[in-house]
């Protein structure tokens, strides 16, 4: 038993991200009912599911914007320390929570750029003030990142002056500026006009090709099918099915998943 635990922890240490049996309730409502996931270096995992299936909550529990009531989370071999209080997990150290969050890049559905700062200021905010790195270095890196996501000419503009697609690319660059070990995307294209979705997906695809470990909650079936190497289908707070896109999008998929993608082709 003890040996099992040790082997188990060894896999958790080797993986980029390891989530064990996460549970989360909001009051009476049980949103996550025991979810586990192992992400290896370079994995691109698409998380699909209808609204209310718990996929966003799952992502928010990983970077501790919500604290799961039960379960373990390991990021790059480091376990997040929890204590039980009235049967629910509470992080032991807020310092560790900050440290783990700095290692996990989060991209939000509604971009959440800081509206009073220019795009460049948005990008260097974390590296300069959280990671305490030299400003000049951070600016040079930030400019390279803006170049990469194709909005270098917008570096002195404010978020409100950008289109939704540009804002989301800036938000991705802001996360990348922290040099995260894993990137979490929470429906990154759901708030965008259809013609702006492509530019954001292109940036995400190139990130995936560079070997970034990514968890992507999305409704973009083409991304799930063509870019990710693993697809997870969530239903009612649990993982309904899980596999490579080739298997998931074949006749071998679970009936619930087939029904789910059927509603998209509808």
């Amino acid at each position: 038993m003890l040996q099992d635990q040790q082997i188990d922890n060894a896999t958790a240490t080797a993986n980029r991200l390891s989530v064990r049996n996460i549970r989360k309730s909001f009051g009476e409502l049980e949103v996550l009912r025991g979810i586990s996931l192992e992400a290896h270096d370079g994995d691109v995992i698409s998380i699909l599911g209808s609204s209310g299936s718990g996929k966003s909550t799952f992502l928010r529990c990983i970077n501790l914007l919500e604290i799961a009531d039960e379960g373990e989370i390991w990021v790059d071999g480091e376990q997040i320390q929890m204590v039980k209080k009235q049967g629910k997990n509470i992080p032991v150290s807020s310092r560790q929570v900050d440290h783990i969050r700095a290692e996990l890049g989060m991209v939000f559905q509604s971009f959440n750029l800081w509206s009073h700062m220019t795009i460049l200021q948005n990008l260097i905010e974390g590296p300069v003030h959280v990671l305490k790195r030299p400003r000049a270095e951070c600016i040079a890196e930030a400019e390279a990142l803006l170049e990469k996501v194709g909005i270098a000419e917008k570096r002195h503009a404010y978020p409100a002056h950008l289109s939704g697609g540009q804002q989301q690319r800036a938000a991705i660059a802001r996360s990348l500026a922290m040099k995260p070990k894993v990137m979490l995307f929470d429906e990154p294209t759901s708030a965008l006009d259809p013609e702006l979705v492509g530019e954001v997906l292109r940036v995400m695809r190139s990130l995936a090709e560079e070997g970034m470990t990514m968890l992507v909650v999305t409704h973009e079936m083409s991304f799930a099918r063509n870019v990710s190497n693993r697809v997870i289908f969530m239903r009612e707070g649990q993982i309904d099915s899980d596999g490579a896109p080739e298997t998931m999008f074949s006749d071998a998929a679970s009936p619930a998943f087939r029904q789910f993608i059927g509603s998209f082709r509808g």
């Binding site: 939000f108 959440n112 009073h116």
Partner: protein, 232 residues
């Protein structure tokens, strides 16, 4: 029109402007610090702390500033523990009493103005800051504070202008600022109209300058809300 008298009056009143400005700047400064403390208590989770701040704001917003000033000036000396404490050499000074009561009062108003600013900070921008590992004082200093201050500034500039005018009350606790000096001139000359018109003109000019300054600050801090500059 007796220009010689107006000129002489203006000269006498202008000599009292430094006193008015000293009352104003000191009470805005200490009142601002106090407001930060009160608003921090006001949004605290601890109900005792929160209700103390609520009570403070209620008392200082709900009663006349003049009465508060009289209570500080005439009232504090009645308490032995103040009269015989190391504070007494300060607290028996009319100027100190005036600054103290002005600061205590504006602290309550400003706390509510700042709270309004805090409530206008979008939760998602705070969440974005948390998601990169910001928390505590860093989060307040870099994200919450700057956004809240921008939202609070229009209302706060009104409070600042009110404070310039409130310094006139200090004349009633024998501080020789502009209004006090004006009243002394009137009791000597019985020329109410000219003297008070001069005094009013001085307050108008002071407030004009202060409003220009706050408008400039507001303009500089709201670049993100204006249309993008057209680049050549």
């Amino acid at each position: 029109m007796d220009f010689a008298f107006l000129f002489q009056t203006m000269k006498t009143l202008l000599a009292a402007v430094p006193m008015t400005l000293a009352l104003f700047f000191l009470s805005i400064f200490f009142g601002g610090l106090l407001a930060l403390l009160i608003v921090w208590m006001r949004v605290a989770k601890n109900p005792v702390v929160r209700n103390f701040a609520k009570g403070y704001i209620f008392v200082f917003r709900g009663s006349p500033l003049l009465i508060q000033m009289f209570l500080v000036f005439y009232g504090l000396g009645q308490f032995g523990f103040i009269r015989y404490s190391f504070l007494w050499p300060f607290l028996r000074e009319p100027f100190v009493c005036a600054v103290l009561s002005l600061a205590l009062c504006t602290g309550g108003y400003t706390a509510e103005i700042f709270r309004g600013g805090l409530r206008a900070v979008p939760a998602r921008e705070i969440e974005a800051a948390r998601s990169i590992g910001m928390s505590g004082f860093l989060l307040v200093r870099r994200i919450i504070g700057p956004i809240a201050f921008r939202h609070a500034l229009p209302a706060y500039s009104t409070e600042i202008v009110m404070m310039v005018k409130s310094t006139a009350l200090a004349s009633l606790v024998t501080v020789w600022e502009v209004t006090g000096v004006a009243q002394r001139l009137i009791s000597q000359t019985y020329r109410t109209m000219e003297v008070f018109l001069c005094a009013a003109a001085i307050y108008l000019v002071l407030n004009f300058l202060i409003l220009q300054a706050t408008a400039l600050l507001e303009h500089r801090l709201s670049r993100h809300r204006r249309a993008a500059p057209r680049l050549p």
